[in-house]
């Protein structure tokens, strides 16, 4: 049975339970998915600095997951914090991220997509980097800011739904978006009603990453198609890690 660890990369367990529920509704019956958050850290990753603070804890959780027999880990932030680093230190583990997953899924459902984002301040800081990193700049119809903080999404769900619908409609009618991406892991729970109203697919970031991970496991196990370990994801040599006594310096390293 495929085992997936969802790492919510923030220092609060506030969302763990509802995320776990949400994921349970979407996972394949035989998938075992577990949600964890970090023991310490900021409550959001809206700033690059917050992302930096949580980075090594994410990586060590990923490596621990591999050691514990998980088949996949998900770095659960739309910006895919630590995704590439995690693939570097993982040997066989599949590592997925919501940003990459959403963009790939959107790209085969339609010609162009719009990203629903919390605030316009985050476009340059986070979203443009994600879109460019995966090479989908030509398919971007627009960024649509909601003018909300990430913690507001689940607080006032009715207002969130109302705002998302309003900007998503603009995206489809004016910006000619064919697919809507809910560009934040905490916008979970809204896609179904919305896509019925809009008549276009609406991608939930949590579900997208989960499905990508499930598919990744299948590709890995059945076909041997895992992350290439040449060049980009080549692992650091164990010998160096030992020689430099990194495990003594960073507790998490002992898992490597």
């Amino acid at each position: 049975m495929p085992k997936i660890l969802w790492i919510n990369p923030i220092g609060t367990a506030d969302y763990d339970q509802s995320l776990q529920k949400w994921i349970n509704t979407a996972k394949r019956p035989d998938t075992i998915a577990k949600v964890v958050s970090l023991e310490k850290g900021p409550f959001s990753t809206e700033y690059r600095y917050y992302g930096a603070l949580v980075l090594t804890d994410i990586l060590h959780q990923v490596k621990q997951a591999e050691n514990d027999g998980y088949d996949a880990a998900i770095t659960g932030c739309f910006c895919d914090i630590g995704l590439r680093e995690a693939r570097e230190i993982a040997e066989k583990l599949v590592v997925a991220g919501p940003g990459e997953s959403c963009l790939h899924i959107a790209a085969s459902l339609g010609h162009s997509f719009s990203l629903i984002v919390p605030r316009k301040e985050l476009i340059a800081k986070l979203y443009e980097k994600v879109v460019m990193k995966y090479g989908f700049g030509n398919q971007l119809a627009s960024y649509k800011p909601l003018d909300m903080g990430v913690h507001d999404f689940q607080e006032s769900q009715a207002e969130t739904a109302r705002r998302i619908e309003a900007v998503a409609k603009e995206a489809v009618e004016n910006d000619l978006a064919e697919v809507i991406i809910l560009g934040c892991g905490l916008q979970y729970g809204f896609y179904e009603v919305l896509q019925d109203k809009l008549g276009v697919p609406v991608i939930d970031a949590v579900v997208a990453a989960l499905k990508h991970a499930e598919m990744g496991i299948e590709l890995r196990k059945r076909l041997g198609w895992g992350h290439s370990k040449r060049y980009e994801y080549e692992s650091p040599p164990a010998e160096e890690i030992k020689r430099w006594e990194l495990a003594d310096q960073y507790p998490g390293v002992k898992g490597l």
Copy 2:
């Protein structure tokens, strides 16, 4: 149980049986996959003209598949002949193609890929179009021609394996490719041995499309994430098709 139709877009059934076997080894246990070829047509799609000849027959088979209760159809040529048109006329059916599937899978396994192609003559004609269409030009390490016709691949399997291995090694060592894509549906059967030898993932085009289709069905059925019917894939209006009496003119249209 997910039902998938693999359309081998050539006018010979010569490969149906071995492809069916190959697909059976790779499909999920509960997937029903059926291979068909065309009743008439050229034996390859190495020329755009050949692709043009078979185009409507592919499309009508796709539509028929939808009408017959299939969940997905695959236009089984690396150039994805008819893929976009098929998505236009399909309502709920998932339509996948080897080119799109291979490129998407390769893109999340590594930084760059090389495409193993039959002859250098086909690079401009077919392969560059595929790579550009899906926006993965920046991740292309190289095209590696085998200097073989597409029908030679299964004829002399040992020679094919030898040549693929030689150019794939060059791709990895000199062109810094992290993933190898076998860029033709008839290069099936070689990826496993090859990836063991090379130490990087080797993508089989048949299997990649199959897996993409299986995932597409899951996304469609469980989540409602199908091809967007706004803009790019908007269907032609039934009323026009009727008014212009297209079904009287083209036998296949009656399925629409």
Copy 3:
């Protein structure tokens, strides 16, 4: 005397006469230009599926034109349906298309152009593909939809002229377009009045393709500069066509 065949790729002869007239006003005195439409087929090519239905008939008309001694054929739809395939099967015949012709002419008349298109729905489906295919994305100022069907253009010419003028003015003043392209073969007859009013060149798609074809013939005959038959436009081998008995299967193939 240069002989050009204009293929109106739709299954109605409704426009043949007026297009013939229009072309006669623009052709060089010594050019012989003949307009034909298809014996069967949809009345427009607004959907990719319609384009697929008419594709082989276009190609076989092109090949027949070559066999009948024509010097050039024009695939008369802005999306240049079949243009590349036609160049593949033609030996010496010049093949031109309105999309390619308009973009090339516009590119040497000014820095940027706007495309006047029937409906916004067609931008992703057709127009973006044309602009990207020929590499002129950087020179695109905007797409300006008229919110009209292609058959409305000649129906209510006054209304058409009024709408084109309104959006073209916006294109020039707000989007900084330097050249206007009338992005549909059925927008013929409007450019002259419009360019007098706007003070910028307005490219008529029918005339542009005609002129491109006339120039192409001159280049071909005087200088030997025809479509390169290496790689992209390499013809399918006659031997294969014969061996696979394609002429028995598709009536039009016998011309090859």
Copy 4:
């Protein structure tokens, strides 16, 4: 009768006669084409500085040509020195240049082209700028330097032909070029033999510009499609030129 002025932008009349002859063999029967060179200036434009020295003399000759009733002027250097400036000051005159003409013609003859250039030193200085300026970077197969000075081409024609053939063959076979462009106005006289040998179109820069100019005149006169005078090619106001007494300062300005 269309009148075209070919401006050889160098300070020697050494090539005037042979260029005139060459052009006479290629022009339409009713075209009047006259070759002139500059009264002063360097003998080549291989350096940007040389191009700067001759720039105003070219522009004033262009303007004089317009005043003298010419229909078109050609700035006869592959780098199209002064082309954009000339279009700015011209009112109705068509202005063509070999670089733009060659690239446009090549782009509709095949998928990719190689540029035969005198020396590798000129690639960054001149050729990359031309290719980028017109947006054809994606179609460039390669630059092939001859390791010759521009004045050597006509000196030792046999050697020139031999070298061009050698690098052009490489371009076609190794770099997959479908069209060859002779990237210097002084490589005239070689294309015909060469294209017979190579089997792909070989574009002569002098002839290409001549044909582009002839076509430009036809578009201008018959259809009113001249260079757009909005934005990019907007003319400097006569009032300013007068107020600043430019004609007293620069002899050539009096033609404006």
Copy 5:
């Protein structure tokens, strides 16, 4: 002591004094900066033709500056007229231009910038060329025209300040610009007040070029990092200049 020549490339000394004052407030204490304008020429460089008229005089002033012991010269127009040509003929002299300097400085201060330009007519003619030439197209947030002539900026400073502030605010709030560039040498004197009001850096083109030149001198003198003389900036050979007697034909050439 580093000596810099600022060449105001227009035929009027009207701005020399106030520019000299402005530069004196910004230069390093030990820098000697001198402002000159041209003996003849148009009063602005808003048209390419004007740029062509002044080009050789700029270049010869640059070369004279090198001969007179200057360490750097600045071609003082945002479009960097003659910048590349000047680097070609200079041996050791640093040559800077406001366009290049502003874009490089802006690029390390933030993610995106807006360019405040005189009139929308100049965007295609001048500004797009500058932005593209240096490869910063991806960082452009917007062009914001002031609808003013270049000579109005210093005439009615209060109005200029008011307009710049209005469009710059739009740029920051709506277009998400992080840095504002005052895209004309004659918009000097406004940046300080403006950046206090806006809260983002506002780049003055005169000061930016001055600072770039000061840094360039330091790199040149301390580290030997001057403009590379291979390929792009390779100098024309003195022997050719002599053989062609260019100094007799163009007075300025004698400095070379």
Copy 6:
């Protein structure tokens, strides 16, 4: 007096002294530059994982430098680890990095550059990311691997010099590079001899970053041109950092 902190982002002080010496030879007389390394951490940043391990320590050193009255900090690895994050948390401090500095300096010295890199394995992992991040992909001539580890550079200086010279010559002669960048902070000490031999500028990464920092300080102090704090580099709100008690969780946070 401008104070600059050079952070060598590795957990060994082995290079501190020689780097300090090297920097002292290149700094402006009135600059105070101090080299530090990290108290813990890997000895190189050749893997992304190593970069992750040292990231927060770098950031907290940067912030501490700001609190201690430094004017600039340099994140001393060619990949600019932490550069963007550091600018986010800095208020007035200038933050520079070798990668950004080298590319900007190279871009105004010539048309194209080659990057001398330790091993080919690092191209995808590190170097392509740097080149793409700053938008200089079009100016890259080539990557030239030395096939050496980063610690070998100073070990066997003669061998290092020999290898660099060999590949740099290839870069200039074959790849047409106009500028050479020594793409690793530990390749210090080689540029001067090399650029004398090659005749093109050779950029030392340590010196480049130092000079960029000195210039950045000047721009910041004299002109107020610091990193824009809108959008990309907006600081995380102090209130959040306090509310989430981050300083209790991460020792370094208390500096914020």
